[in-house]
Symmetry: C2
Subunit: 253 residues, 2 copies
DNA sequence: CGGTTCATTGAGGGGGTTCAACGAAAGTGG
DNA sequence: CCACTTTCGTTGAACCCCCTCAATGAACCG
């Protein structure tokens, strides 16, 4: 993501799970080469999604999961009075649509924050294949479970942390996910606006901006527009770990 | 739950999925009678968990999912400085442990808020069985997906609603889940304390208490200790729907 | 009955929102 | 190339919801 070279290099490659550099993050994890071939056949539907385009919308009938090959997506919902609520940001190797399996309809809107490429995985085919390939079934379970864990982390942030802590958790999470994908863990490009970050973290864009400024003043990060450098990883982790949770109070059973 | 008669009646019955009145909520959904028998054989491990007892603890090795037959459980985590963070309340028919599938270890503590009965479902057996029974596999996917949806609702509350709205969503969610289980949707017994509710909703127990009082003054609910009656369902839904989200503001793109 | 836990209510303070102004960067059309 | 416009980010000041601290009351239990 945020790397034109990366995009171009990917476009030139034959796009197959077996040759995909995301196979250690995506559905193929734990599969034998011959199984990956079968998987490849099932999800040979590739698509390009340009910045600002929607991959699907809340209410659409669910037929497929979508794996991100490159780019970044924002998942969000619109509440009763039309205001947006960001539910997460998704990176290469992530699967989108997991919340729709149960109901048969997408619950959220998915929009590309950068020019992106995705792989469409028809879910009925995936289920069929999982019936024959135990390791694929296990991986589907793992992926669903991981999404639950990720959501719990967001709930934890929103439920018990102050602005500083939330931003620290957000940055560390992003950093770790980027690192797992082979990007630098300290030099991040933010594909989302301050408003989108704040919306996800349950605060206003002004608060995000102010908190960025404070973290910069404290020497933990350096921000220049949408390029953010983590300068004091342990310090950030300290913020994310314990400090700043629920108004400095120490009470509780 | 919260009904001694219910517990006693259950104890007398032969405890099998095929005769369980939760089979429309739990793992057996969509299974043929003969498949249910196989499922029954796989999870014949029943347990009693008394109020305050832990079913498992964060960090424990994950081997089984746990289905609630009767009672109520609280799932929570302890953060760095030992403070509690409630991640959810689970009712009969719900499955616990879904977040542990990916990592092999439980991420949360599970404690009974009432004297409860659970069914243990060894996950390796479940996976094996799902390999043979497509409808069971589909149900496992559905259950995992439903947990994701439930978590998204919690994120939505925490991220964009004020105390009143959060409490309204909480009560309506509880009401609907109780109704699906055959209980009254308007007359609820709260198995959890104000502090636990507040912790889950990202607010202090005093705020929960004050907000209950306000909702009561407005004629939406009636509260007597841990018995809560919903008196104006549409009014509550109005609160949960749009009102009270992010400081009364109407701006935004 | 005294001790503990839980719930309610009040008063004061703080973190974040709201409203507002300003600046920087990017895109547009002449 | 430069006004013009638009979008995005930053910063300041006032207000408000909720937290904190505190006191009181009700129910449960040994």
């Amino acid at each position: 993501m945020h790397d034109a070279q990366f995009l171009k290099r990917e476009a030139r490659l034959k796009i197959a799970c077996s040759s995909c550099n995301l196979r250690q993050l995506c559905l193929p994890v734990g599969l034998d080469p011959e199984d990956i071939e079968q998987l490849d056949a099932a999800l040979n539907l590739r698509q390009r999604v340009q910045t600002g385009q929607h991959l699907y919308r809340a209410g659409d009938i669910f037929r497929s999961l979508y794996a991100i090959r490159s780019g970044v997506f924002k998942l969000y919902r619109l509440n009763a009075d039309g205001r947006e609520q960001v539910m997460g940001f998704y990176l290469p190797g992530d699967l989108m649509g997991l919340g729709a399996i149960g109901t048969g309809r997408f619950a959220l809107h998915a929009v590309a924050l950068e020019d992106s490429h995705i792989c469409e995985a028809p879910f009925s085919l995936l289920e069929e294949l999982a019936q024959k390939i135990p390791s694929l079934q296990r991986q589907i379970h793992r992926v669903l479970s991981a999404e639950i864990l990720q959501d719990w982390q967001a709930m934890m942030m929103l439920g018990s942390m102050l602005a500083e802590g939330r931003l620290a958790v957000f940055l560390l999470d992003l950093s770790e996910r980027l690192q797992r994908r082979g990007f630098s863990p300290t030099h991040l490009h933010l594909s989302m606006s301050r408003e989108e970050i704040g919306n996800y973290l349950g605060m206003k864009l002004e608060t995000v901006s102010r908190t960025f400024s404070k973290l910069q003043k404290d020497g933990l990060i350096a921000v220049d527009r949408r390029v953010l450098t983590i300068q004091d990883m342990p310090g950030l982790k300290r913020l994310a770990g314990c400090a700043g949770e629920s108004h400095l109070g120490m009470a509780e059973a």
